[in-house]
């Protein structure tokens, strides 16, 4: 059995950001997933969601929950990441000063995602967009 959810994310809409992670958190609670696992999943997903809001024009988030795992697939249409390895380094950020003023873009995002997920895959095409695939096992 798979439970699937889909969310649309609009770039630049910080006020509404976090819907996907908030909803997912509620579903996982109803399934009785442990608070520690939920915390990791939600932090990773929130970071990924914020990345779409901060950098891309728009994106889709697809969540698939099975008995033992959650797959989070985030696809965006945006600038893409030229050097993923460099972007993974702590403190690296291309966020605009406007975004930073709002308390985001400290350059911890990708790292934070990696720390909180069991499997992280990022593929990106410059000028087209980025796809993030994360899996967490319960």
């Amino acid at each position: 059995m798979v439970i699937e959810q889909q969310y649309f994310v609009k770039g630049g809409d910080f006020s509404r950001a976090g819907i996907a992670s908030s909803e997912t958190r509620k579903l996982l609670k109803q399934l009785g997933i442990s608070p520690e696992k939920i915390r990791n999943i939600v932090i990773a997903l929130y970071e990924a969601e914020m990345n779409i809001v901060a950098h891309a024009r728009e994106g889709t988030i697809r969540i698939s929950i099975t008995r033992d795992s959650i797959l989070m697939l985030l696809e965006d249409q945006g600038p893409g990441i030229p050097d993923i390895e460099q972007a993974m380094k702590e403190g690296f950020s291309t966020a605009s000063s406007k975004v930073r003023e709002m308390g985001f873009g400290a350059g911890m995002g990708l790292n934070n995602m990696k720390r909180n997920t069991d499997l992280l895959e990022i593929t990106s095409t410059v000028g087209t967009g980025t796809t993030v695939r994360m899996i967490n096992y319960f």
Binding site: Q5, S22, K29, L31, G32
Partner: protein
């Protein structure tokens, strides 16, 4: 065995309840349903915040409490009460008058609970110094908040600072004092004059403690009325001895920033349960404020807005502020005593276990099936969250259906729709469509809007 099961102090009076939906809609844990024309509280979800009592148009909620006649059973009768009790009285009524009235009512020993607050401050500082984890500690002062975290934000339960509230400080302090005077604990009755439902629940059935330390709970409203009747004709007597250890910080403890001020700028205070919910939601998403201490209170303006506190909360705050200036600062008044060590030890709580009351099923596979069914069901429901089905909203109805506690026929929109499907075009449907739009009565899928759990 430490108590972890749910107990709640708020009860429904079947005579007064008119089965409207005010309480059901405002409950922060969706603990209320309307059944057989009456509000019904689910015990395991109720955190005793008192929101339902505030909005009830018929005052149909009451609290489990004890009668003043209970005083007659004891030779020594100790009253424990928070400083907000005093904050309710109009200007011109002195501390001596209120204390004198309490003695007249029948108490023999009076302890305003926030003393000696410096001991509490020490307990906070020790705890803070000993903690190793990153991020803010959350005060356990407000029992409604502790219970809210326990059931709705279990991932944050580790942040709750395991230190008791002032009523425990005062209770232990009082008992030790009386013992030192050679008074037999068997002959002593300890009564707590409670400002709210959450404190009643916490004192009657404390989380993270073996048993309650008090013998009875007295409604603050009742005491307020009785004291008011006495002070209007009574100049009062000298009662300063009871307030030897009362300080400025103690009087302000239960008001907004009362505890947070200890941690100066490295602290934050949030009051009002809706505001607290927003803060905790953010924290569960990993957005944790960069402070060392979080003071969270279920009532707007802290205990000055307690459900059993009379009068205007802002005036109560103002009066307590003014009163506090007449008392010394806590730092200048730190009584040492043989009982200090013992009292400090009794302030430490045992870890509080999270309670997963929103889990759909203990078995993961079954929980998933139920969740999938809820997701399907909500698409058929009208998403108006009208409450006519007796649940707080459409998603809550879907959840109740899956839990076997409700059925799709409970939804009046669906009833009208099935009437139309039967070919019976009722005039009532046309009227409803004019209000809610015809889409509500179509079977087409629509986006769900209600948040739910």
């Amino acid at each position: 065995m430490f108590r972890t099961q749910k107990y709640h102090a708020i009860q429904v009076d079947a005579e007064k309840c008119i089965g409207c939906i005010h309480c059901m809609k405002i409950c922060p844990t969706e603990a209320i349903r309307v059944r057989n024309g009456l509000a019904e509280i689910t015990g395991e979800r109720c955190v005793d915040c008192g929101n339902c009592m505030r909005v009830c148009p018929t005052e149909a909620f009451y609290l489990l409490q004890d009668d003043l006649s209970l005083l007659g059973r004891y030779k020594y009768r100790v009253a424990l009460f928070p400083s907000v009790l005093i904050g309710q009285f109009p200007e011109g009524v002195s501390d001596d008058q209120v204390y004198g009235a309490l003695l007249k009512i029948g108490f023999t020993h009076l302890y305003e609970v926030e003393q000696p607050i410096q001991w509490m401050v020490e307990a906070y500082r020790d705890h803070h110094a000993a903690q190793s984890s990153q991020g803010p500690m959350i005060s356990a002062f407000c029992p409604a908040i502790v219970r809210l975290i326990q059931i709705r934000y279990p991932s944050l339960i580790d942040r709750v600072m395991l230190i008791n509230a002032p009523h425990d400080l005062a209770a232990h302090y009082a008992l030790e004092n009386l013992k030192a005077q050679g008074i037999d604990p068997e002959e002593t009755g300890v009564f707590y004059i409670a400002p709210c439902s959450a404190k009643i629940a916490a004192v009657k059935n404390p989380l993270g403690e073996k048993e309650s330390i008090v013998d009875g709970i007295i409604n603050m409203n009742e005491i307020f009325n009785k004291v008011m009747a006495i002070v209007t004709a009574d100049p009062g007597i000298a009662t300063g001895e009871f307030r030897e250890n009362l300080t400025r910080e103690g009087i302000l403890w239960c008001l907004p920033r009362g505890e947070a001020r200890l941690f100066k700028r490295k602290s934050m205070a949030v009051d009002g349960v809706a505001n607290v919910v927003k803060m905790l939601e953010r924290m569960e998403m990993g957005e944790v404020p960069e402070v060392e201490f979080l003071e969270l209170r279920a009532c707007d303006q802290g205990c000055a807005g307690g459900i059993m506190v009379s009068g205007n909360r802002f005036l109560n705050v103002e009066r307590l502020n003014r009163r506090s200036r007449k008392y010394p600062q806590a730092a200048d008044h730190n009584p040492e005593g043989p009982s200090k060590k013992k009292v400090l030890q009794s302030l430490i709580l045992h870890p509080i276990e999270p309670a997963y009351v929103f889990q759909l099923d203990k078995e993961r596979g079954k929980a998933m099936e139920k969740l999938a069914r809820i997701n399907r069901l909500v698409h058929f429901l009208p998403a108006v969250d009208c409450g006519t089905c007796g649940t707080p909203g459409c998603r809550a109805l879907a959840e109740d259906i899956v839990r076997g506690k409700a059925s799709l026929q409970d939804c009046i929109f669906l009833q009208e729709r099935s009437n139309r499907d039967d070919g019976s075009d009722l005039p009532a449907l046309g009227k409803l469509e004019r209000i809610w739009g015809s889409n509500r009565f179509n079977k087409s899928k629509r986006e769900d809007t209600h948040e739910g759990f």
